[in-house]
Amino acid sequence: MMIILLVLIVFGCVGVGTLRFVLGPSDADRIVALDILFSSAVALCTFAALSTQRVLFLDIAIGVALISFVATLAWSRLLEMRNSHKEEI
């Protein structure tokens, strides 16, 4: 019963991150919101593992953490290259 409350709090984090992802004035804000969304995804995978008592969901959490790293790196690199290209022009 307690895990439902925790899942609802993490859903609140997902809502805040989605709102910042949609509203974000600059593109760097959107990448920060993406980072929060991936952290919430890892937390939700852990809660799934706890509520079903299956350790398989922790493997999914490992995969989500790896995808989070690669996605943040690629998007911030793209942003940096775009702005440096703009400075050259």
Binding site: M2, L6, I9, V10, G12, C13, V16, G17, L19, R20, S26, D27, A28, D29, I31, V32, A33, D35, I36, S39, S40, V42, A43, T46, A49, L50, V55, L58, D59, A61, I62, A65, L66, S68, F69, T72, L73, S76, R77, L79, E80, N83, S84, K86, E87
Partner: protein, 101 residues
């Protein structure tokens, strides 16, 4: 063991909530990144280690240790790149506003 794990999970969820509230309290992309990545990594580590304490099995523990090591190795690199992109973007926006003025 279950009590300590539940306490860890509750604290981790509160830290994650604090990190996501920083997205709206702070005003700049750089300071939002400061709140989000730092507190997010602490929250994930506390949630996962609490799950390992509740699970109690060795298969839970080594997967949780893999996640903790992965997060602690990759999150500073990602936040560094993110901060550099945010600084670069704010600087280019300032230059655009200067030329428009």
């Amino acid at each position: 063991m279950t009590t300590v794990g539940t306490l860890f999970i509750v604290l981790g969820v509160l830290v994650l909530l604090l990190a996501s509230s920083g997205l709206f309290v702070l005003k700049d992309a750089l300071s939002r990144q400061h709140a989000a990545t730092k507190a997010g990594s602490l929250g994930i580590v506390m949630i996962v280690s609490g799950a390992a304490l509740i699970g109690g099995n060795w298969s839970w523990v080594w997967r949780a240790m893999v996640i903790v090591i992965l997060v602690w190795c990759t999150m500073p690199v990602a936040s560094h790149m993110l901060a550099r992109a945010a600084i670069r973007e704010s600087r280019s926006k300032d230059e655009v506003s200067d030329t428009e003025l």
